[in-house]
């Protein structure tokens, strides 16, 4: 049976399902092909369920520190199964919500593995059996990405975990090794450390969260160490020797000196690779470079009617990037087909995509790091404001953190903002709006920030860049 659509989206993650909704809104007959759960990794195995786990960890942390607030909490403990099932329940609830959104927008959801036959035609199979042929003038590839694996660091789901296994632990490891200190690795390290595991993080580069501003990395690393995390930078895991219920890990430093660490579980979080296999790319001449589809700024693959968005096309591997690209690719198609209502359409500005990590303390940033700005030849002004100087932070008992801003000294352009501390993942949006609207330091200085808020530090950091900070 061949079904015909205007637009078919392969993959129902945050890129794909958002693209489908936008397509339906613009009057296209739309279908989504999904092999597992609507909402993709983000909703089922990424962003959302980890936030649920980390919330449990945060509440537990606060309970442990009840006395600091004059409170009495007796008999502290947790039920791992319930912590996990809360997280799974939230994922299921939201995935169901996407189903309703699809129905509301009259989007056909086809379950199964989609594969490109030729431009304009996909075939869908389930359990190896063909279930449908799907025709569409435009096809959006949004199959996402998965954890990268290396031959000597292969996950088995039992002793060596990827994020999937780490989201559904059946036991609480006493000793845990996390390989990789990017957002995924460090969030899990934070979670398991909070619940009492002895956690070691191994990072190949010379600092944790290496994509962040160096000062923020250093601040976070100091804080992690204070919480009891073992951090090994400039080091790599060269061997995992699996015993019956433990793993003996060989960690080699830059100096070539090796040491072994015995742990109960290992989490491998060494990056992401695109889901480019078995979807008909090579046969159709779609270019793949280092595990990701090569697409232009509009998401076009160069093959007529075939577009690609989100993690599948490379970094930044972020749900909000994928969703935004999904909207842009659909609006571009609509405009190319003569829709006059589509105005002001521009490719996504990768410099304005915020990144958030929900470890404790949280880390959030947008734009260029101080080093990147210097490397680009900017003469810069840097502002800093510590949480110690903010009334609300002290009242919350969250006096650890830093808000850093980087300005172009000549034009006053906010080149980047970098934050570490409580709730910074919610605050970063203020700077993202500032960047998108192209404000200079002047407008930020003129903005009145409510008191008492953590956001006041965003103001003070800007003031500090120009030697005008008031409270520090």
């Amino acid at each position: 049976m061949t079904q015909k659509f205007d637009i078919v989206v392969l993959g129902g993650g945050p890129g794909g399902y958002v693209a489908a909704i936008r397509a339906a809104q613009l009057g296209f007959k739309t279908a989504v092909i999904e092999r597992e759960n609507l909402g993709g990794i983000c909703l089922n195995w990424g962003c959302i369920p980890t936030k649920a786990l980390l919330r449990s960890a945060e509440v537990f942390h606060n309970m442990k520190h009840a006395a600091d607030y004059g409170l009495v909490a007796g008999d502290l403990g947790f039920d791992l199964d319930k912590v996990v099932s809360r997280s799974r329940g939230i994922a299921a609830q939201l995935s169901g919500g996407i189903g309703h959104l699809m129905k509301k927008n009259k989007i056909t959801v086809i379950e199964g593995d989609g594969k490109l036959v030729k431009p304009g035609l996909l075939t869908v199979s389930k359990d190896g059996k063909k279930v449908a042929d799907v025709q569409a003038t435009d096809i959006i590839l949004a199959t996402g990405a998965r954890a990268r694996e290396l031959p000597h660091l292969k996950a088995d789901g039992k002793l060596v975990w990827t994020y999937r296994h780490a989201l559904t632990p059946n036991v609480m490891p006493k000793r845990l090794l996390v390989i990789g200190s990017g957002a995924i690795g460090i969030e899990f390290a934070s979670f398991y450390n909070e619940l009492g595991a002895n956690v070691t993080v191994v990072e190949m580069l010379d600092r944790v969260m290496p994509v962040e501003d160096a000062e923020i990395s250093a601040f976070a690393e100091k804080s992690f160490k204070k919480q009891g995390l073992n951090i090994m930078t400039s080091a790599s895991v060269t061997k995992l020797d699996k015993k019956k219920n433990t793993v003996v890990c060989t960690v080699e430093g830059k100096d070539g000196k090796a040491q072994t660490i015995e742990v109960d579980r290992v989490i491998v979080a060494i990056g992401i690779t695109g889901n480019v296999e078995n979807i008909g790319l090579e046969e159709n001449g779609i270019k793949v470079d280092r595990g990701h589809i090569v697409a232009d700024e509009w998401g076009h693959t160069g093959v007529k009617g075939i577009h690609a968005i989100g993690d599948l096309t490379g970094p930044p591997w972020l749900a909000h990037n994928a969703s935004h690209e999904g909207v842009i690719v659909i609006e571009k198609i609509a405009r190319d087909r003569g829709n006059k209502d589509i105005k002001d359409l521009h490719p996504i500005d990768k410099g304005n995509i915020p990144g958030c990590t929900y470890c404790r303390p949280q880390v959030a940033s947008v734009g260029m790091t101080e080093q990147a700005a210097k490397d680009k030849g900017h003469k810069i002004r840097v502002g800093r404001f510590p949480f110690m100087g903010n009334g609300k932070a002290i009242a919350l008992g969250e006096a650890e953190g830093l808000v850093k801003t980087v300005f172009d000294a000549k034009t006053g352009e906010l080149l980047g903002a970098h934050m570490v501390g409580a709730e910074v993942t919610e605050m970063i949006q203020g700077y993202v709006i500032a960047r998108t609207l192209e404000t200079t330091e002047a407008e930020l200085m003129h903005t009145v920030f409510a008191h008492p808020t953590l956001s006041e530090m965003m103001h003070e950091s800007v003031l500090d860049a120009y030697g005008k900070a008031l409270h520090f």
């Binding site: 105005k343 003469k379 002004r381 000294a409 000549k410 192209e438 404000t439 200079t440 002047a442 407008e443």
Partner: protein, 405 residues
Amino acid sequence: MAIEIYMPALSPTMESGTLAQWLVKEGDTVESGTILAEIETDKATMEYESIDDGVVGKIYVADGTENIAVGQLIAVLLEDGEDASVISDAPAQKAAPVAVKTETVVEEATPVAPTAPVVNTGGKRTFSSPLARRLATQKGVDISDIPGSGPHGRVIKRDVEGYVPVAKAALAPSLDGDAPFEEIKLSNMRKTIAKRLTESKQTVPHFYLGVDIELDNLLTARKELNNLSDEYKISVNDFIIRACALALKKVPEANVQFGGDVMRHYSRSDVSVAVAIPGGLVTPVIRGAEQKGLRQISDETKALAKKARDGKLMPEDYMGGTFSISNLGMMGIKQFQAVINPPQAAILAVGSGEQRVIMKDGAVTSATVMSVNLACDHRAIDGAVGAKFLGAIKTYLEHPSTMLL
């Protein structure tokens, strides 16, 4: 209240224009979007749309009227229920916008918010981002001259960065002697060409550098690419555009513009390509060509050339450019020297590729060779820099695989 229609500024540099012809007459009902008239500017003929609904009450200027200043009253629309009695016979002259130049002092690390930028008051508010306004002030350009590409036409950073006040280049015409002749009035385009290029030759100290480039590797690569697909056809010129764009990146000292007491250094290669059209030529711009592949360059060049020939180029298609290419190779010209397209600082004149006998390693052999000449503005580019830049172009073209790096 009757709606007054003024001569519009259809391009950022337009000061006056010709009302080529009215497409409506008095008494016609028009709505928002109706084309009122065709207006000829110094670069193109453009359609002027009504933004209001109403009935054409009075037309003040006849078809073919030249030199109508931007801002001059040209017609009046009557709103629902109004009659012609509200129209005064003597058209009020709206204050013509005065070009205001702001003196800019750029002080490193004195980022105190400058005074509000001077807005060219055609009575229209220019929406712009704070950063765009500051950059415009620092560049000494009027923000309201800059076409906006942001939401609802808002002028944003990239518009200011990509904005160059004026441009255009061509070869000067000549009429002389006692032979029988017919005098034909110059078109606005021809006037612009004459004015700009006279200015260029009189004020820009040109010097010329020539080099021969072997094309055999490039032709092989081109053939291979074009055999792969019918969807595109890459030309030698597309390779030249890309090579120049990359060379500008490699030798950024050549991607400059002389500006009186400042030198402007560009960080993007916006390559203007001279396209001959009936009555003259225009130079549409391939923006950020160093970031574009041959296919994209080829597609864009074709689309722009077609628009140019159809007289449909929009200001954003030809404004700006940091470097020009003029290619007469396809017309059998072996080599020539071009006039710099001000305010740019260099132009490459490209001749035809031909089989020539050459000496290689002491032996006589043959190769496909193309002669090119680079004209440089000596105020901005010195001989050694020009030579380095031309050398980079030569290397890219002779070893086209290096353009993949």
